[in-house]
Amino acid sequence: MTTPLLEVRDLRIALDAGGRSHDAVGNVSFSIGRGETFGLVGESGCGKSITALSIMGLLRSPLSLAGGAIALDGREIQDLPAADMRRLRGKRIAMIFQEPMTALNPLSPVGRQIAEMFVLHERASWKEAWERAEDALRQVRVPSPERRVHDYPHQLSGGMRQRVMIAIALACGPDLLVADEPTTALDVTVQAEIVDLMAELCAAKGTAVLMISHDLGLVANMCERVAVMYAGRIVESQAADAIFAHPRHPYTQGLIGSLPLLSARSRHGRQKLREISGVVPSIVAYPPGCRFNPRCPAMTDICARDVPMAESLPDGGLVRCHHHG
């Protein structure tokens, strides 16, 4: 078996609050192959963003890595010295953030913010870096890049800014792109453009993608495999087709059930969307047993008592439920 590009094993992230350490993310394991697109789905607060930050080595107090391993090409990177980690960041693992409005420096021209990548990682001169920044903008299909390089972020629309973010992230041809809700803050029409652009460029460069989103539909469209996270645990992971056809975990079933379907609307008229009752439990007060039990329609006594173990599925996925279908 070949070494996966990224392997996360038994990742644990601790949140320190009020002198106590809470278990924000635990038992999270997944791997991503070269050029593969992998989706991580869950509601806000489920720990998907901090999982992404931990891969980048960017967790900051009060969050910290409490255990597990993150390996890139088989080499563990979670304990690398800061200087070595910096050389990986941006060069081999790049990240796109949710808010294109605030993720760019408002006082710096976008061209300069792209050019920095070449200066940092490829020892380019500023002059050369600026020229390459213009090319990078052309690649993400920003119109008239020769003028746009000198623009400041506030002069660009949200979609254009996210294109700039993509240009920055892909500037040095990374092996892995971590995209944390890259389209959440954008208009629906722009969302599709950005996702397509990302998928196309990553496919062309052979860049693997860790796509993080609360939007199961988006992830299923773009990714080959999908993991669903709930309350700091991966509750189910399967191939994207399979997870839609046969969701195993009640939470995944609930997520899929709550997606509006336009085709169903035309066939059956207006229908009430199904929802998952209750709210995501607070990180400081997770219920005992299965963390989904207070909201689960299939809950029985064992769910409140025992933590369900991850069970492998025949086709390579896994599910973490006492009563999975």
Binding site: L58, G90, A94, M95, F97, A103, N105, L120, Y152, H154
Partner: protein, 311 residues
Amino acid sequence: MLAVLVRRLLNVVPTIAAVVALVFLLFSVLPGSFISGMNEDGRTTIDPAVMERMRKEMGLDDPLAERFVKYLGRTAIGDLGTSFRTREPVTKLIADRLWPSLKLTFAAMLFAIAIGVPLGFVAALKQGSVLDTASMVGAISGLSLPKFWLGLMLMYLFALQLKWLPSFGYGDGGLRHLTLPAIALGVSPMALLARTTRAAVLDVLNADFVRTARSKGMGESRVVTWHVMRNALVLVVTTIGLQFGSLMGQAVVVEKLFSWPGVGSLLVDSVFQRDIPAVQGCILLIVFFFLAINTLIDLAYVLIDPRIRYG
């Protein structure tokens, strides 16, 4: 740039008009006058007839409205009137004092910026360290020390004990005489600047774009020089502007203490003598200085923040 300047200058006009009116009215409703004040020390007695003639000459008996119109007319053409005390034009009195005043104010501000801004930067970057705690305790003390007391201590230490510097006076106006009053005046804006800079830098360090910079693989020193400094500067410049503008007014105490021949000590002397034209002139100058500095600061924003230029 030019458009911003013009817009700013147009904004200044009503402010000046309001200040001119306020300064006049305020001193017209205050009880007592230059003439009555002359009798107050109990040593001199002036013939009531002489007093009457002086009141007429100085126009103190004219109706308020008439005096106001005259005053406005004079001020508009740059004539600030004649000092009751010295019988000289107030413009000349002020002109003599302007250079020392500007020198003191700029020196104090230079001191405040040169020490306060780097101190705040380092404190923020080493948040929680001994240096951070020490400099912030220092900053709070610097803010709460009265300038008057601080000036006396400086005199005691550097002039009386160490005999490094003259304790007071203008001398040749050089650095030796300037140093102590400038420090006495500069310590409080320095402390405030250190605190604001620290807060601004901490704020920027938590911004999303700083996280982006880190995700690009940038080391902390580059994150700071490439992305944090300029953003933090916006707030720092605001504070510099507010402090700088009000510094000429704050200088009153320090100038008096160090016998520094600036506008501030002229103001104090004029107030005690009820020399209304001189007082009005001094206050107008202090307000003008404030407005001028603020306009300059607005222009500085345009240079720092591109959003203002186009927005």
